[in-house]
Symmetry: C2
Subunit: 429 residues, 2 copies
């Protein structure tokens, strides 16, 4: 043991040793001391008790975070790639993959081999917290394939999926460019927001010099159930949201409506097992909604507020009966109700996997909460499953009076990475 | 039963009945149906399982949310009062009191006596969620007492506490007026953010016409333990935060440092049993911090990162020994370290109850996370417990290089309301 170690026991002790990853001969003197330091996340014995030791695999045929039962909290980030070479982009995806594989298992983003004289490899704010069901889901925006001038940025333009085009302008859209689009996206979902924020921060840090955050969105409460094991949560209109959602348990539905299949797009076979992610930041005019009668609110949605039952009767999971008539021979579920306009029978059978979150970002200049629903939906074919429905809703949905779409993006979500590979590898090989 | 009720069973059913609060004779026909609707929050049998059925009393000698063990999530709002009469201000405080007493017990904000033709009294997004430890803590800003011209707005100027003055400008402050000050504040803390957001939204709705939100802040993770029963959480610098905080278990400390005592301020005896709340939005330059060596980070804080132990040795709760010397006779804890500069022995014995939260509000134009610590601290005397310390830190704290204070406010937090009374009543009687 050197003098330095005697005087300041931590001086020169490598953090790799502190992590307990290895103990070299020279470290024995310090190891006793280091024993108590354990920087590893999952192992910290004084962990903040938040529950949530649940973990989801990172590697696999599909990415996690799509049909994974929607976790409670979200941190979403869209990135602009500043790297200019294909190699640098691949290096970024490889580094992200390694970090994501660690963090989703409740470990620090990067194993730490540095000394006290280097910055810590992980930023530390999730030390002691369990994995909390963290999933990290990566996507590619249309602009990754071609820049605004149509130039092939990374030699992948020929493989751009035909479904991956910027979303069109929809009626009443009032989009903020600084909350829209992006070359890459990362959806971090977890049951503890600190874990989700930690993940985005560390990925953003790893991207330093190759990509930077274009926009980010925190979601404080899930607005959809995506599994029959989950109770249906409520959105900021106070209504249950997710009742008629696709559910992870119905594998047939997922294959039909969520996962891209071989042959869907011959020039983008790499998307097989992937999906498309529609992201829409939708502000909700809560003050106006709150001044609307319950009758009107329910008519707009097409379901009742207490239970989420269709206005044609029954309980939450009863199928709506759009033919049912009430007083004056009026339909019990209005033709301009959200539920009827969005229903598969009115959309050529189209369904989507909704996975949105409530958000609030402070307030606007008029003292109203800047709040709403960060709509996320996974579909196999945006052109048939999202775009026509959004057009129909934008034109006819009575709810539109209370909504304003302020952000928009579409991403191709590649299949899962294989262990030893990296997310999106299929696009580059 | 009318035809209307037969054809649309919910038509004309009062929501008061749906709430199960009362059943009048005329309602019997519908009651069967209504039985299944239960809008009450705590009783919904299909509640989203989030844990957190913990409740704290609203009425009492002190307001809850001060020494209450810090809950995980925060929604904070500062309001500008638009009402111009004392009566209207009192009416607002009365309405807020009633709603707060309901919501903190896991019930809707307002009992619902309206029909389907009126807006629901509660906005509904917390239906089915437990109380989740919700506390609502109310405060009065200096501007409530006198406007910018010094005019007595509500006949209370003579009773303005001498401690309740706008915080001075501190070195390096870069305050955004739209994130600072306010006539009133509400601190909503809960273990479920949806419950905290619901509370602020409903209070803001109740305030319609009397007060509007000036600024609001969501905090996604607590940065302080305020009870010996809590593990110490971490801030976004990755360090444990709250180690040397005042703890609710030390009643002597609370009486000495948190609660205003009789005689503290003869012109504001109404503050007896209350406290002062300092709110500072502090942006943290995470990217710069993340490029700093662990050694430097620890030197800046004065504690180690893994455990939060003082650099003079020991474990988390060992008292720092500022006299301890290391190599070259240098102090092990630097004189410019945050912990030494903030320590009571360096501040004439001053202590405060810190109750802050990590925040992230998207990103800035440079693609950096707009993130930091929303610093909240409760003190008996801002003039001796906060202002000198903040001046000292702003001038000497090595951490300041990584911080930017962007919001600032001070509020007088009156004692708790008595059942049947309202929060702040002591100021008006
Ligand atoms: C802030 C905006 C929105 C709100 C508040 C909202 C709310 C709701 C509610 C309360 C339901 C009924 C419960 C359920 O089945 O989940 C619902 C259903 C649905 N919504 Fe939305 N929604 C919004 C935007 C959208 C958008 C933009 C789309 C797609 C373009 C969409 C597509 C659907 C679909 C497909 C259903 C299921 C319809 C069915 O099969 O019955 N929603 N929504
Ligand atoms: C983003 C800004 C800040 C960060 C990241 C931060 C972080 C920390 C950390 C890591 C500790 C050591 C652990 C503990 O005892 O809690 C600490 C202690 C403390 N901080 Fe801060 N702090 C910040 C701002 C402030 C401000 C503005 C004040 C008051 C003006 C303050 C007052 C204190 C006090 C009184 C202690 C306890 C000192 C002791 O008795 O040992 N901090 N802070």
């Amino acid at each position: 043991m050197t003098d330095e170690q005697q005087e300041n026991p931590r001086a020169g002790v490598s953090r790799r040793r502190l992590l307990g990853i290895t103990g070299t001969g020279a470290a024995v003197g310090a190891a006793t001391f280091a024993g108590g330091l354990g920087l590893g996340r999952a192992t910290a014995d004084d962990s903040v008790p938040q529950g949530g030791s649940r973990t989801y695999p990172f590697y696999g045929g599909h990415q996690s975070g799509v049909v994974t039962p929607a976790q409670d909290r979200l941190h979403f980030a869209a990135f602009d790639v500043t790297a200019t070479t294909r190699e640098d982009l691949i290096t970024l995806l490889q580094a992200w993959t390694l970090a994501a594989a660690e963090m989703t298992q409740g470990r620090p983003a990067q194993a730490d081999e540095t000394s006290y004289d280097a910055p810590p490899a992980d930023t530390g704010e999730a030390d002691g917290l369990p994995a909390s069901g963290l999933t990290l889901t990566f996507g590619f925006g249309p602009s990754l394939f071609r820049d605004a001038q149509g130039k092939d940025r990374f030699g992948i333009a020929a493989r751009q999926p035909k479904e991956l085009a910027r979303l069109p302008h929809f009626p009443a859209d009032k989009l903020d460019p600084s909350r829209s689009d992006g070359d890459l996206c990362v959806q971090a979902c977890a049951d503890d927001p600190q874990v989700a924020v930690h993940a985005i921060r560390n990925l953003s840090r790893i991207a330093f010099g190759s990509a930077e955050i274009r926009w980010a969105q925190l979601g404080f409460g899930r607005t959809s159930s995506t599994s029959t094991s989950q109770a249906t949560p409520r959105n900021l209109f106070g209504f249950k949201d997710g009742t008629a959602n696709l559910k992870a348990e119905n594998a047939g539905d997922l294959d039909q409506h969520v996962w891209v299949a071989r042959g869907d797009d011959p020039r983008a076979e790499w998307m097989t097992g992937g999906s498309y992610l529609v992201a829409r930041r939708i502000n909700m005019h809560l003050e106006t909604w709150d001044r609307t009668s319950l009758r009107e609110q329910e008519a707009i949605v097409g379901r009742d507020r207490p239970q989420g039952a269709p206005l044609s009767g029954g309980t939450e999971f009863t199928e709506p009966d759009f033919a049912a008539k009430g007083r004056g021979n009026e339909p019990l579920i209005s033709a301009t109700s959200h539920v009827q306009l969005a229903h598969p029978t009115r959309n050529g059978g189209a369904k989507m996997l909704r996975r949105g979150y409530n958000f609030t970002d402070g307030n606007d200049a008029l003292g109203r909460l800047d709040a709403g629903l960060f709509f996320l939906a996974y579909v196999r074919r945006p052109s048939t499953q999202y775009i026509p429905m959004q057009n129909r809703l934008a034109q006819h949905d009575g709810m539109m009076e209370y909504l304003q779409h302020t952000g928009s993006a579409l991403f191709a979500v590649p299949p899962g990475a294989r262990a030893g590979g990296y997310v999106g590898e299929v696009l580059f090989t």
